[in-house]
């Protein structure tokens, strides 16, 4: 075995000598994009419409994929009009599918570049980029005797992943779900079937007709809610309300929440810049380049032309927004992103984190 392995690595080295300065994978990617374990990709196997505004994508992850835990999400990279943008989507399939496929369900968000692209244009055979699954919004073992899931809109997606994976291990489940209308409920028919079979107690709220659900309403509908282990996912205001209610009831540790997008503060007026490597924090007014702000605060930063043409000064933007001082273009990093920005012509457009 060892001999064969040595022969294989030896042969591979020769192939590397042949393809230098690029790597053999750059050629192989053209033929077999899923075999490259160092660049995780997935092929879209099927696209199913869920509602008028959402689709479920069945993905075949390539080599390098690690099995997810129910409730986790995956960052997906999609080329939208030539630019690779990354967004997080909850995995809605159980982890043990024999065909190795996973599913994600995407809701078209107004002005959402990636979600709109996927809902409108995703086709079988398309290649997407992936990060390994991640997230702390998990069902723990042992399973709780009584569980409550409070969700709204696309907040149902991680919960659906949990229900599909572990409902058979849960004895008493209540799902409180809000959506604008009955038709807008993602997985509506599946949830209703589960309810009809008596496997869950489903409380649907259609907010267009009945208004938004308040924690007090939930307490009325589920009288024992503070005794239940609870998972909640939805808009930030809803989660804030729930957290306050659970804290008031002294049951904060029973509530777990998942927030899809932190509220991003962007404005023309600069913001706090955090340089992660040096640990320096600088207040800026958005009128001077990040490079100048950082250097003035003693951060050692790469620099070059100082006019935006040589790309020597680029550093990863990890979170927040920066504005190109020349043409005003905004660059926004989602959590998990590492977007290289030119620090010599970019200024903070809200709080931002730079790896440097």
């Amino acid at each position: 075995m060892a001999v064969i392995r040595n022969l294989r690595t030896g042969a591979w080295r020769v192939v590397e000598l042949i393809t230098t300065p690029v790597v053999p994978a750059d050629y192989l990617d053209v033929i077999a994009p899923l075999r490259n374990a160092s660049v995780l990709r997935a092929k879209i196997d099927a696209v199913h419409a869920e509602t008028a505004n959402s689709v479920t994508l069945v993905l075949r992850p390539g080599r390098g994929w690690v099995r997810h835990e129910p409730g986790q999400y995956v960052r997906v990279g999609v080329d939208v009009n030539g630019v690779r943008l990354w967004r997080s989507y909850s995995i809605t399939s159980p982890p043990w599918r024999s065909d190795g496929r996973i599913t994600i369900t995407v809701n078209a968000v107004p002005d959402g570049a990636v979600s709109t692209e996927l809902v409108r244009n995703a086709k079988r055979g398309m290649i997407l980029h992936l990060d390994p699954p991640t997230g702390e919004f998990l069902l723990h073992a042992p399973r709780p005797p009584k569980a409550l899931f409070v969700t709204a809109g696309s907040g149902i997606t991680p919960v659906m992943g949990m229900l599909r994976s572990a409902l058979h291990e849960l004895a008493d489940v209540v799902v409180v779900h809000s959506a604008r209308t009955q038709e807008a409920v993602v997985f509506g028919s599946e949830l209703r079937v589960l309810a009809a079979e008596g496997r869950i107690r489903l409380i649907e709220r259609h907010t267009r007709a009945d208004g938004r659900l308040k924690p007090a309403d939930v307490a009325e509908l589920v009288p024992d809610l503070l005794e239940r282990e609870t998972w909640a996912c939805g808009p930030n205001e809803m989660l804030d309300d729930l957290e306050a209610h659970w804290a008031d009831g002294g049951a904060a540790e029973r509530l777990r929440t998942e927030r899809f997008r932190p509220t991003l503060l962007t404005g023309g007026g600069g913001g706090t810049v955090t340089f992660t490597e040096s640990g320096t924090v600088v207040e800026t007014d958005g009128s001077e380049p990040l490079l100048d702000s950082g250097e003035a605060a003693g951060v050692l930063m790469p620099s070059g032309c100082r006019m935006g043409i040589c790309f020597s000064c680029v550093l990863p933007l990890r979170e927040g927004a920066v504005r190109d001082l020349r043409d005003g273009r905004l660059t926004i990093a989602e959590p998990g992103d590492r977007i290289l920005v030119q620090t010599c012509i970019s200024a903070a457009a809200g709080p931002c984190t730079i790896e440097g």
Partner: protein
């Protein structure tokens, strides 16, 4: 030529500081229009060029496995030469300029790309993107003016060693990639003193180049020839020829960028406190284009649009062609000359200069006019000029200035 500041008649004497800033504003508008419209089509373009290049390289190298047969040798060598030229010019040079960074594809990014060239990408990016593109044609700051081995401007001091420069240039053309590696290492300067030779930064750079040369040589002169077995020597000859063709071609194209007649040079002190408009103007006057067909533009990596490239070094190369008419119009309106010509003419013009300036200055050129020195001041090249307030409502919009208006 002589630097613009020492010329008897300056080609920019007719421009007021306001005109120069207005040129900057107009160029920024052209830039914004293109940069805001980058998209799927552009991304598809560069991916297509890369795919074609790789296909051509694999195909040619495959054919060269049978390099004993003359037709195979010829076709394979021609294909490999074209593949290497595309890889260096339209792909490598432009990706390393950050022209495709906006795609956020880590495989096609200036921070990650490595090219089929003996100089490592990071060293080249420093000497080219940063020094040459910021200080274009400033004597004493832009070493691309003669690469430190030649005198290509009257205002560069003559030395008897310059008598040999036509010969140096020929050798440089043949082994251009090694010339560039030596240039990026600043070998001439760094080998001078013991202290410089032992500088850890220089030693690290040297190691990088040695490693890169090793890999390149191993690939072209050992591994591929070995794969062709009994035709070992034929494949070596083919790969050597392809490298020479690539070298001579890129050397010629690059000579056409800043050496032909009509290109202006600048004094070191003239760029003190340089504004964005002034920087743009220097790029306009300091570069020369090559006219020709689409295929010609692609084979030069669109450096045939040297003027457009120097104005917007990070603009995707497939767009230079589309903005060229607007740039030409701008030159005309401001009474400036857009230097351009077919390849043979421009190459001849550059070579003529290399021969002429091997000798010391004579006649008019030997007279060195004094210049007005500017006090040191930080530049504000990144900062755009404010557009002037719009004229009062009833006044009719002024007609665009023509060359004659401005000259008057």
């Amino acid at each position: 030529m002589t630097t613009i500041q020492r010329k008897k008649i300056s080609p920019i004497a007719h421009l007021t500081p306001e005109d120069i800033e207005q040129i900057g504003i107009e160029l920024d508008a052209i830039r914004d229009e293109v940069m805001n419209s980058r998209g799927e089509k552009d991304a598809a373009y560069i991916r297509r060029v890369i795919a074609w290049q790789r296909g051509l390289e694999i195909g040619s190298r495959g054919i060269l496995l049978f390099s004993l047969f003359p037709p195979a040798w010829l076709v394979g060598t021609a294909g490999l030469s074209i593949a290497k030229i595309l890889e260096n010019m339209e792909i490598g040079h432009n990706i390393l300029h950050g022209q495709w960074d906006w795609m956020r594809d880590p495989k096609i990014h200036s921070s990650k790309w490595e090219w089929d060239h003996v100089t490592p990408a990071d060293q080249w990016k420093h000497s080219h993107n940063e020094l040459h593109h910021t200080y274009t044609n400033v004597i004493g700051k832009d070493n691309d003016l003669g690469y430190g081995i030649m005198r290509v401007d009257e205002d560069q001091k003559w030395h008897p060693a310059h008598l040999g420069q036509p010969f140096y240039n020929m050798v440089n053309a043949l082994f251009f990639e090694y010339g560039i590696a030596a240039y990026d290492l600043e070998l001439g300067r760094n080998l001078q003193t013991k202290e410089r030779r032992r500088d850890p930064k220089f030693r690290a750079a040297l190691k990088g180049v040695r490693k890169k040369i090793g890999k390149q040589v191993l690939k072209d002169y050992i591994v591929f020839p070995a794969l062709s077995g009994p035709f070992f020597l034929h494949t070596i000859a083919a790969n050597f020829t392809a490298n020479i063709i690539r070298n001579v071609w890129s050397h010629s194209v690059i000579m056409c960028g800043h050496f032909p007649n009509g290109v202006e040079t600048f004094e070191k002190t003239s760029i003190e406190g340089e504004t964005r408009g002034e920087w743009y103007l220097r790029q306009m006057l300091g570069s020369a284009n090559i006219s020709g067909s689409r295929a010609m533009h692609i084979m030069t990596g669109n450096l045939s649009h040297q003027i457009e490239h120097h104005l917007f070094p990070d603009m995707p190369s497939n767009r230079y062609r589309t903005i060229a008419p607007k740039i030409q119009d701008l030159f005309q309106r401001y009474g400036l000359s857009y230097t351009s010509g077919p390849l043979p003419k421009q190459v001849a013009s550059a070579w003529f200069k290399v021969f002429r300036l091997a000798l010391p200055n004579r006649g008019e050129a030997a007279i060195r006019r004094p210049i007005e020195k500017k006090a040191p001041a930080p530049s504000t090249r990144w900062r755009r000029a404010e557009a002037p307030a719009p004229a009062p409502a009833p006044a009719p919009a002024p007609a665009p200035a023509t060359a004659t208006d401005l000259a008057a």
